[in-house]
Structures are given as structure tokens and as C-alpha cells.
Amino acid sequence: MTSMEKRLQKELQAMTKDPPAGVSVNTDLLSSNLSEWVVDIEGAPGTLYESERFQLGFKFTSRYPFDSPQVMFLGPNIPVHPHIYSNGHICLSILTEDWSPALSVQSVCLSIVSMLSSCKEKKLPPDNALYVRTCSKDPKKTRWWYHDNSV
């Protein structure tokens, strides 16, 4: 087993055994070498996204955890949020430049849930239309310019 598989195996174990609130790994959609995950998340109670369900897609390279995972929202239901583009791409610094191998799938999921929770108004990013038309398929290729960290 490679070190990437070993680590993902442990993360998966921990997350299925003791899942954080509102986050659950969809084990039916796991790829055999664990390089692709689907995680179901639910909007926290008392927030704009309360009881809404979303799917996050994770893709890991063999360099994980030194390389950050590619994370984006999947499927028909993509949250309307000023940092989430309508194609599922997420503007979150820990997914690219601020990634650290001490982070994990769980901490990424929790960051995204908390990003949703702190949202005050459901609206698309201001440059959504342009971005969705011109961006690469891989959000990691995007050079994000982080506007603010208030949301």
C-alpha cells in the first residue's frame, strides 16, 4: 500500500467510525484505490443552508497529503454562496495555497460547512458568469484571488 492509500485508509476509518456532525462519506461511491471520494454534507441548523444536502467530490493524487486534494461540489445541488461558483468550484485558500499536510478530509469538510454557516446572504460570486465560462476543469489550476475572509 502506498503512503497515500495508507493515510486515506486511516482517514476513512476515522470518518466512518466517528463522523463529524453533518458530514458523511458516501462509501458506495469510493474508488477502489481511494483516490476519489464523495462526501455528503448537510447545512448546519440555524443557518441559511439548514437541512440542505450537498455532495463534495474529493480527488487525491499519489502525492497526497503533500499535494492538496481537488475539492468541488458535485451534482445538481450546488450551494449558492459568494465563494462557490455555479460549476461547483470553491474559492477557499486551504484548498490551494494554504494547504498543509496537517489538514485532512475532515478538516476540509468542516471548513466548508463553516464557510456555508457563516454566510449572510445567498448570492453567487460577482464574477461567476465569466469564471464559469473561462475556467479550467480543475479548480486547483485556478489562481484564486481571495477577496475577503469574512464569509
Binding site: K6, K10, F66, E97, S100, P101, R143, W144, Y146, D148
Partner: protein, 458 residues
């Protein structure tokens, strides 16, 4: 011609009203193959009524066309003797060219079996089909079972066989072309006796302490990681020849605690007594009682590396522990090194590609957090500053660049995007008297970063 001439080793096995069943061996090219044959009693039913079964070793060597031929002859034969003669002839012909000596009967295999016999079959634990892997067992005085695996080279029995053991040191035996298995085994017994004290010492530790590592110690493992309390453990490597001497000790845990224990250890080292057991000695010099294996108050020590989530990685255990009590994660040196290198490469590549910098000029600048201890509000990527830099170059300016020390990455921290010029001061290059001293005295930037230790300019 009678059946006895062709198959002297044929015996009647069973007789019923309708047929006789024979069982026996046929000699084909010097080897005996087992077979069964069923012959109808009535002569009229002989043709097409005989049934033959032969052993797998012969069956799998015969080609399909040979099998068909034999079946034809079997159906057409009018006497058992004729058929057997036919059968032997056909099989001999088909095997003549492709004949391989069966393993079991080769001279070498016989020698091996003889040597095992000499050793005693009760010592044999396992034997593979080709007889080239022999697993022997030896029970020591304390009832511990020790295994010895011997891989023989059957092509040339004078070549030193490879031995696999669970001994703490490599098993070296004397080998000459004439060495027999029993000699190797004797040496193995001697070696096992040599480590009795070592295993006794470790058993005492395994029985009385909460051993975190290795999870399932083998007879070969000389290391143990023993829990002292939550988030603190002692890693020892025991000398297998002199197990009661002071082992290699390493504390794994948070720095204030580990250094405390290290001091105690140094102070009490003179109390170490080689006549005492390892377990008692360790308790004596550390001035503690190790928590028992059943002690539930010991929280699971974060033994896994915070990066690779493993404990033992290429014989390396995570021994760098984060000083921040809230984290207190342990890390492998190699994992930390790897991420440092990546950051460095990332920095270098990004700089080369995007900024086209002379790398000699680029040095990572350490910067402590602003005095308020707050994270700056905005992050700007280097690429976003390209335009500023391009502008600066066009205007023949000098740029002071600060790199943050937190990620040593290609980020530049500024507190407010609109104040960027305060942090990237453009100074005309050809202004007289411009040097580092000048910059350090004049620029308002430096007030903001008064605790900068270094800076890069271009």
C-alpha cells in the same frame, strides 16, 4: 503373455457380479504410476466395457491426442494384458521426448529427506512441495517456539542456503559444502540460547507496561515504546547481547515534559544496576512506576505522524513533537523534510516562472506576525503583484518584498489591498545614495515590519 508379465504390481481390489476391479502400479520409463482398472467379467462385454483411471502425475503429462488414442484402444481391447501392453507402449512413446524426472524421486530430494530424517521429523514445521523450503522449529527452555526457515538451492546443494529467523541479530552459521541441516539446526539452538535473557527481560516489560510499539512484538524486535503517561512515552532499543545494560533511550512527547524526564534520567543514571532487570532499572532511574497495560487512564498517545498518519515508516518513528500544547502532534523528520522541500520548490518554481527573478537575490524573509497578533485581512498572490512589479520595472524602481514565514510560499501578506504601496515601496533605482541603509532608514514600510530580520530587494 500374461497380465503378470506386463504389470507385476497389479492386485485385484474388488469383485462384483459384473466386473473385477484391479489396482496397481505400472512401470513406465523407470517410474511407477498408480492406476485403477475395471474389467467386465463376461468376455462378450469386454470390448468397450473397461474403465481406466490413472494418477494425476501421469494424466497431466499426456497430450490430448494420446488420451484419445488410449481411449480408442481401451474400447477396442479384447484382453486386459493386450491393453496394458498397448497402454505402456503408447505412454512410453509419448513421454520419451518430453520426460521430466519427477521431483520426488530425484537424488537431491532424497538427500534432503534423508537429512530431515536425521534431524527428526518432529522438528519439521513445514515443507514445501519442491522440498526447497524447510521450516524447522525449536522450543526453548521457557517454552517459546522459534522458527528457522531454510531455503535450499536444489540446483547446487553446496551453495550456502538462505536462512530466515526471528532472532534479533542476523543468524550466521558456518557453512562448508558438507554442512548438513542438522549442523545448521544445532547452531540455531545455540543462537536461541544466547538471547534467552534478552527475551526474558522484554517479556517482563511486555507483561508489566503499556507497550505502544511494536504492536505485536516479534522475537526479533529490540525496540519498545513504553507509555509513561498521556502523550509521553519512552522509546528504548535494547542491546540483545547484554539486555540489562542501559538501552538507547528516547522520550517522545512535548518538550517541557521530555526534557524534565531526560534530566531525571541523567541524574539517576548511577543507580542503574546491571544485575537488576531492565524493567526495574528503568523504573529506578526514571523514578516512576510504569502504568500497567490495563491502565485505562492513559489516553492513547498520538503516536502517528500528523502528516503520513503512520507510526513506523522505514524504521523511523515520529519524534518531532509540536510545541504547541493544543496540537502536540508528533511528526517524522522525513515527512517534515519533504513538505519543507516542496515549499521550497514551489517557491523557486513560482518565482522563476512568474517573476523571472534572479534567485540569488531571493531569500526567504522571516516575518513575525503583526504585534496585534491578528491575521492580516487580505492575502495577495504573487501573480497578482506581477502588474505592480512590471510597473516597477518599467519605472526602474526597486521593490522591497516580504515573504511570510508561515508557509515560506509564494504569498505576500498585506494588511489592506489599498495600502499595497506602503508595503511595496517603489524607489527609483538611479536615485543617488540608494542602498540598504538608506532603505532601512527611510521607508515607512519598515515601521510596519520593524521585527523583520531580513529582506529581499531587486
Amino acid at each position: 503373455m500374461s497380465v503378470i508379465d506386463i504389470a507385476p504390481l497389479l492386485l485385484p481390489l474388488e469383485t462384483t457380479d459384473t466386473f473385477n476391479k484391479y489396482f496397481g502400479f505400472l512401470n513406465i520409463l523407470g517410474h511407477y504410476y498408480k492406476f485403477n482398472i475395471q474389467v467386465p467379467k463376461e468376455e462378450s462385454k469386454l470390448q468397450g466395457g473397461m474403465k481406466l483411471e490413472c494418477e494425476w502425475a501421469l494424466h497431466h503429462r499426456l497430450g490430448n491426442h494420446v488420451k484419445i488414442l488410449i481411449k480408442q484402444r481401451l474400447n477396442n481391447a479384447n484382453s486386459l494384458a493386450f491393453f496394458l501392453k498397448d497402454f505402456v507402449f503408447i505412454v512410453e512413446n509419448s513421454l520419451k521426448d518430453s520426460f521430466v524426472e519427477p521431483e520426488l524421486c530425484s537424488v537431491v530430494s532424497l538427500q534432503i529427506l534423508e537429512q530431515i530424517q536425521e534431524l527428526g521429523w518432529n522438528r519439521l514445521l513445514d515443507l514445501d512441495q519442491t522440498l526447497s523450503l524447510i521450516e524447522l522449529a525449536h522450543k526453548d527452555d521457557s517454552g517459546r517456539m522459534h522458527k528457522l526457515k531454510i531455503f535450499l538451492n536444489k540446483q547446487d546443494m553446496t551453495i550456502r542456503p538462505i536462512c530466515q529467523t526471528q532472532l534479533p541479530e542476523a543468524f550466521n552459521f558456518i557453512w562448508s559444502g558438507k554442512t548438513r541441516l542438522s549442523h545448521i539446526f544445532q547452531e540455531f539452538e545455540v543462537a536461541v540460547n544466547l538471547y534467552q535473557n534478552f527475551w526474558n527481560m522484554l517479556k517482563e516489560i511486555d507483561d508489566n507496561c503499556c507497550v505502544l510499539e511494536p504492536e505485536k512484538p516479534t522475537f526479533a524486535s529490540t525496540n519498545r515504546r513504553i507509555a509513561i503517561k498521556s502523550n509521553l512515552s519512552l522509546h528504548i532499543v535494547v542491546n540483545c547481547r547484554q539486555p540489562t545494560t542501559f538501552p538507547e533511550c528516547k522520550f517522545v512527547g512535548n518538550p517541557p515534559e521530555t526534557s524534565e524526564f531526560r534530566e531525571t534520567l541523567n541524574l539517576n543514571l548511577h543507580r542503574w544496576d546491571v544485575e537488576r532487570s531492565l524493567y526495574k532499572n528503568l523504573q529506578e532511574v526514571l523514578d516512576i512506576d510504569f502504568p500497567s497495560p490495563t491502565d485505562v487512564s492513559i489516553q492513547v498517545v498520538k503516536a502517528d505522524c500528523g502528516i503520513c498518519y503512520c507510526h513506523n515508516q522505514n524504521e523511523e518513528v515520529p519524534d518531532i513533537v509540536c510545541e504547541d500544547q493544543r496540537c502536540s502532534h508528533a511528526f517524522h523528520q522525513s515527512c517534515l523534510y519533504e513538505i519543507m522541500v516542496i515549499m521550497q520548490i514551489h517557491l523557486t518554481v513560482t518565482m522563476r516562472m512568474e517573476l523571472d527573478l534572479d534567485l540569488d537575490l531571493v531569500k526567504a524573509v522571516t516575518m513575525k506576525k503583526k504585534q496585534q497578533g491578528q491575521h492580516p485581512l487580505l492575502f495577495y498572490h504573487v501573480s497578482q503583484l506581477l502588474s505592480y512589479i512590471a510597473k516597477a520595472k518599467k519605472e526602474n524602481c526597486m521593490i522591497i518584498m516580504f515573504l511570510n514565514n508561515r508557509s515560506i510560499s509564494d504569498w505576500i501578506m498585506v494588511e489592506d489591498g489599498f495600502e499595497i504601496k506602503n508595503y511595496f515601496t517603489f524607489v527609483p533605482k538611479n536615485e543617488p545614495g540608494l542602498n540598504e541603509d538608506y532603505l532601512s532608514q527611510s521607508s515607512s514600510v519598515l515601521d510596519c515590519f520593524s521585527d523583520c530580520t531580513d529582506m529581499v530587494y531587486m
